[in-house]
């Protein structure tokens, strides 16, 4: 039905307009993808080959750059740090966000409006601009230059949106579910854990993706908080790496390719969820 109605206007368009639209869309997709393709192709070339034949197809069996990036640089360490930081932050966001969201959505209380306003303020304030006091606070807590400095910061940034996503969804669940369990004598924690939360997986997935992508990609907070090379995350480590190999372009492109690969592949596999999650704040 929707397919039909949205197809109908297109078919009545003049051919020339449809053709122009196709040309623009193809050109745009080319501009979006070609740089990524050149990056991957260049990663299989030596620096000399990149300079002489920038657009030629490489010999794909020549994986020396990749072996060198993975074997001789700190890139694998950065990778592990990024996984630890992103994983722990997203887990904390989901746990704390679900707790607050559940309380606001399922229990009537006069403080609910206050709690929601509190998190709404957190949603609006750019914590980046409070990085100086955050820096001093983390130093006083002894967390500076540790992965925890990033984890608590990302959790604080991501928590408000998770509260709203979870509360918004949990509010829509019928109260008959709870009441039936209550009559059967189930405790409140048990109702939350066994009855309600199993139904709340879709909003959790949205909250997880919405936060995981920016956390995985963030560069600003590691730049300020982390000094020790062994604790750097991927984007920050990448700047160190790019500084070390400035003239070895094969290595540079291999490093960029390896850094970009996991999230790009994950996106291609789960594009619907990624798009839904990343635009969740802007699409109602």
């Amino acid at each position: 039905m929707t397919a039909l109605t949205s197809q109908a206007p297109a078919s009545r368009q003049p051919i020339s307009f449809a053709l122009l639209a196709q040309v623009i869309l193809i050109a745009n997709s080319f501009i979006m993808l070609y740089p990524v393709v050149v990056m991957v192709l260049s990663a299989f070339k030596t620096t000399g080959e990149i300079f002489e034949h920038p657009f030629a197809l490489p010999d794909f069996t020549q994986v020396g750059n990749f072996a060198k990036v993975l074997g001789e640089t700190a890139m694998p360490t950065y990778f592990i740090n990024s996984i630890l930081v992103t994983g722990t932050s997203v887990l904390l966001i989901l746990v704390l966000g679900t707790m607050a969201g559940y309380a606001v959505a399922r229990y009537e209380s006069r403080t609910n409006t206050f709690i929601l306003l509190f998190f709404l303020a957190g949603l609006m304030l750019p914590l980046k601009l409070a990085v100086i006091p955050l820096f001093i606070l983390l130093r006083d807590l002894g967390l500076l230059d540790s992965r925890w400095s990033l984890i608590v910061t990302y959790t604080a940034i991501g928590l408000p949106s998770a509260v709203f996503i979870m509360a918004g969804f949990l509010r829509t669940l019928p109260s008959e579910l709870e009441d039936a369990a209550r009559i059967d004598g189930a405790s409140e924690p048990r109702i939350m854990w066994s009855v309600m939360l199993p139904l709340a997986r879709p909003p959790m997935a949205i909250a997880a993706i919405q936060n995981a992508v920016p956390i995985w990609n963030d560069f600003f907070f590691p730049l300020v908080f982390i000094q020790t090379d062994a604790r750097k995350t991927l984007p920050q480590g990448l700047t160190t790496f790019m500084g070390e190999y400035t003239t070895d372009w094969g290595m540079l492109f291999a490093g960029l390719t390896i850094a970009a690969a996991p999230i790009t592949l994950l996106y291609i596999a789960l594009s619907r969820q990624f798009i839904q999650g990343m635009t969740a704040g802007a699409v109602k």
């Binding site: 297109a10 193809i26 920038p54 560069f219 635009t279 802007a282 699409v283």
Partner: protein
């Protein structure tokens, strides 16, 4: 059911709700509320490195806005933020709107184009910045290589080293990175327009331009409100792309300097001069914060007024 709701909640229930609510609130208070409130306070003090000195009132603010050394740098950077905002409004949000309209008709290859336009959005800004820095390299970058091979040697430039093109190059790199975001937000907005409205307009013989201008654009106003507000906040927090592509000093000659870079240099120093000034940094952050809050709220209210309920 009514009965259980009417009863005063038992102590056990209250404890359980407190258990759910208190940890997230404590966490937010410690790592968001406290730092933000402190950020205002810090701006009123003198700082020696990491140690807080005496209360100096508005001195840091005066220094940032009118001081002989700071003010020219700050205003120069502010102007570049404004350029970036205006250019990105047109290229990124405007381009996104047009791409969304083309995608809305679900032409051949629609699913592919929709996925393709969002690929750069998922990449880290660091990757995007370095990638374009390599592409824009004067000698070996693919942009100049392509111009040479097309015989357009005179067009080749050291894009990031030339004062007249550097900021534009950063803006275009940013637009490449993010154009997919407004595209898909607008697409979702257009898909919410009841198809009958567009159908009726077509039956009345409305041409494409009138349809876009008089029907689609007003009806996707809620998406515009969000996208323009987000871009406004993003443009005045701009940091990563300039940092990676032209460095902390906004080279060449400060022509790409933006407030994010000025803030970082002031607060955390740079390689050449590792002077930290938390007082002036906090004053700059506070001013930027107030500017963003005031103008973003005004922008939101103004854009909201033109939203139509349907």
């Amino acid at each position: 059911m009514l009965l259980s709701r009417k009863q005063a909640p038992s102590l056990k229930r209250q404890l359980w709700v407190a258990f759910l609510v208190v940890p997230p609130i404590v966490f937010m208070s410690l790592f968001v509320v406290y730092p933000i409130l402190s950020a205002f306070a810090y701006a009123f003090y003198d700082w020696q490195g990491l140690a807080r000195g005496e209360f100096v009132g508005l001195k840091n603010f005066r220094e940032v806005l009118f001081g002989a050394t700071m003010a020219p740098v700050v205003w120069n950077a502010f102007l570049h933020n404004v350029y970036a905002l205006v250019a990105l409004m047109i290229i990124q949000n405007g381009g996104g709107f047009l791409l969304a309209w083309l995608l809305y008709k679900e032409p051949f290859g629609f699913r592919f184009h929709r996925i393709a336009v969002f690929v750069p959005v998922v990449l880290s800004t660091i990757i995007v910045g370095f990638l374009w820095k390599l592409f824009l390299n004067p000698n070996f970058g693919v942009i100049n290589q392509a111009l040479y091979s097309l015989g357009l040697d005179s067009w080749a430039k050291p894009w990031l080293g030339d004062s007249s093109t550097a900021l534009g190059a950063l803006i275009l790199a940013n637009a490449w990175h993010f154009v997919g975001f407004p595209t898909l937000v607008y697409l979702a907005g257009m898909q919410r327009i009841p198809p009958e409205i567009i159908e009726a307009a077509r039956l009345d013989g409305t041409n494409e331009w009138q349809l876009l201008k008089n029907i689609v654009w007003p009806l996707v106003a809620p998406s515009t409100t969000i996208l323009f507000t987000l871009l406004f906040i993003g443009a005045f927090n701009w940091f990563e792309i300039p940092y990676v592509m032209v460095g902390l000093d906004g080279s060449p000659f400060g022509t790409t300097d933006v407030l994010g870079l000025v803030f970082y240099r002031t607060a955390f120093g740079n390689q050449s001069a590792s002077i930290q000034n938390f007082g002036m940094g906090s004053a700059l952050a506070t001013l930027l914060f107030l500017f963003i809050v005031v103008f973003a709220s005004m922008l939101t209210l103004w854009l909201r007024r033109r939203e139509i309920q349907f």
